[in-house]
């Protein structure tokens, strides 16, 4: 499964929302992970998503505003920036050097900053809460 998703991620570049959705659906019913996205304004969005895709895909495929994801998930634009709720930070995994490099150029970087395209949704993340910065840049 991990291999499939890695391949999927790399080909994800630039497919459309509808494609994301169908890619998630064809795997059939399984455990759904709940994620809460909170906009800078405080507006909350609760989404359910299959494990395997990224948190960015979960947002984009569910029409959550505030995540641009200009590069389509290639960790190369920093426009899917989120702040991970402290209690979830460890479970979202390590920041790889590429993500660190992109984040380090962000003017809104905080110690709980992540690029949501680099957080893979797992069953352990059920209940995850992330907040969006005021601007994606």
């Amino acid at each position: 499964m991990a291999g499939l998703h890695a391949a999927e991620r790399s080909s994800l570049l630039l497919r459309r929302t509808s494609w994301y959705r169908s890619a998630l659906e064809i795997k059939g019913p399984r455990f759904m992970v709940k994620i809460k996205f909170i906009e800078h304004s405080g507006q909350e969005h609760d989404v359910e998503t299959n494990p395997g895709a990224s948190v960015m895909i979960a947002a984009v495929s569910n029409g959550v505003p505030g995540i641009d994801a200009d590069c389509g998930g290639a960790c190369s634009c920093a426009t899917c920036h989120v702040y991970v709720d402290q209690e979830w930070l460890e479970k979202t995994g390590e920041i790889n050097p590429t993500e660190e490099a992109m984040l380090s150029l962000s003017t809104d970087r905080k110690d709980n900053s992540r690029l949501s395209c680099q957080i893979q949704v797992t069953e352990d993340l059920d209940g995850l809460v992330v907040t969006m910065p005021e601007f994606q840049f």
């Binding site: 459309r16 003017t107 809104d108």
Partner: protein
């Protein structure tokens, strides 16, 4: 007969048949086909038949052309293989004419210097500037004549971007046209109009340094401000820059904020005139403007390429690239790649995923001023639609003689008011 068809250089591709000429002879680097607006089919053939293409002989020496979206992404996001040093231009530089700036640096120095300049164009700072930008846009538009031919490039595209630069640098407003001249001189090909020689270009750069040194001295002794000069003068990683480094970064910011947005302002007018159904969509629904802005930036691709230099032997698209080879990412081609962008050869202001284009580049060197550019274009089109039913192109446009800066030197238009 355009200037371009008079391009007599032996390297010019103008007038050649892109589909029957020997593919290894295709040379996208020569400015002729860009000025003549004939580049599209050459790029299309390369994408179809030889997407990672080696041009062994050209006026600028041998180089690789990368023409497909995904290959460009790969090069742009692999700075450890494809370096931005010593230059991001296709012409190799000579020490005496080289200006160091972070666009042509690799990490970690690039990151340190960019971090200093970035906040001035960050959305939080732009929000403070939005009102002023809108006011200046309105002033420019309100001065324009109705039903009378004039040059859109001069009166709007250049004027607006120059005013923006003066604002960002807190540059003396009445001398702002110097910024335009320095920007044009910095990227000009000697002998092609702006400057006659490299020496003349260098004289312009020295004048620029002199003026900006004055601003630096004034601001380094004052409280830190929100303008770029003050940020550089007070920033830890930049306050001890050598004069050449300071000049390099100033020129980078002037060129980055000038040519690019200027040509997207002109290019948007052209695209809407060439696609009247899209203009109708815009008239029917102005909420489409932010999406249209991204599509204009894709369609125009105001910088046609960025160059990298291979640091190690590597493979790309089945081709062996050697350490030291010049590698040119043709953003203008990747943005037309229908394998990634749906109906890429059409200008569609309401297209899905309009933000996913290559014009800003990707990775560490992604355009720093992208949000400023989008904001300027958005405000401009909001205010145009408040005033005019149509900005009508009424004559032949003239294009820049460059394979790097993709844009217009002249665009005759007439404005029609709202009924």
């Amino acid at each position: 007969m355009t200037d371009a068809s008079a391009d007599q250089s032996k390297w010019s591709m103008v007038g050649k048949d892109p589909w029957t000429m020997p593919i290894e002879k295709i040379d996208l680097s020569h400015p002729g086909i860009w000025q003549a607006n004939e580049f599209l089919p050459f790029m299309e053939r390369l994408r179809l038949e030889d997407p990672v293409h080696y041009c062994a002989e050209s006026a600028v020496g041998p180089y690789w052309s990368i023409t497909k979206y995904k290959d460009i992404m790969q090069v742009d996001t692999s700075p450890e293989i494809f370096s931005s040093e010593p230059t991001i231009g296709i012409v190799d530089t000579y020490d005496e004419y080289t200006l160091p700036s972070f666009i042509s640096m690799d990490p970690p120095k690039h990151d340190e210097q960019r971090r200093i300049a970035q906040p001035v164009v960050a959305p939080a700072n732009l929000k403070r500037l939005e009102h002023l930008i809108r006011q200046r846009v309105c002033n420019i538009l309100d001065e324009l004549p109705l039903e009378t031919e004039f040059d859109w490039v001069k009166e709007v595209s250049i004027e607006l971007t120059t005013q923006m630069l003066a604002t960002l640098f807190d540059f003396p407003f009445e001398s702002r046209h110097k910024l335009t001249f320095w920007s044009d001189a910095a990227t000009a090909i000697p002998g092609a109009g702006v400057v006659a020689s490299n020496e003349e270009r260098w004289a312009a750069m020295e004048e620029c340094l002199q003026v900006f040194t004055g601003l630096w001295n004034e601001r380094v002794n004052a409280e830190p401000g929100n303008d770029l000069v003050s940020m550089l003068a007070h920033g830890e990683a930049t306050q001890n820059m050598s004069p050449m480094e300071y000049l390099g970064n100033i020129i980078l910011l002037i060129v980055g904020g000038n040519d690019t947005t200027r040509n997207s302002i002109s290019g948007g007018v052209m695209a809407l005139n060439e696609n009247p159904a899209e203009y109708d969509k815009l008239r029917a629904d102005r909420s489409i403007i932010p999406n249209m802005v991204s599509e204009i930036i894709r369609w125009q691709t105001p910088l046609a390429y960025m160059r990298r230099t291979a640091l190690v032997d590597t493979e790309l698209g089945g081709k062996q690239i050697k350490a030291g080879d010049k590698v040119v990412m043709w953003y203008a081609s990747g943005n037309q790649d229908s394998e990634v962008i749906d109906r890429a050869d059409e200008f569609l202001i309401d297209r899905d995923k309009a933000r996913q284009h290559l014009s800003f580049g990707f990775g560490l060197h992604r355009c720093m001023g992208n949000r400023l550019a989008e904001m300027q274009l958005r405000i401009l089109w909001e205010e145009i639609m408040q005033r005019f039913d149509m900005v009508e192109v009424v004559g032949q446009p003239e294009r820049v003689y460059s394979s790097f800066v993709k844009g217009y030197t002249h665009l005759p238009v007439k404005l029609h008011g709202l009924n």
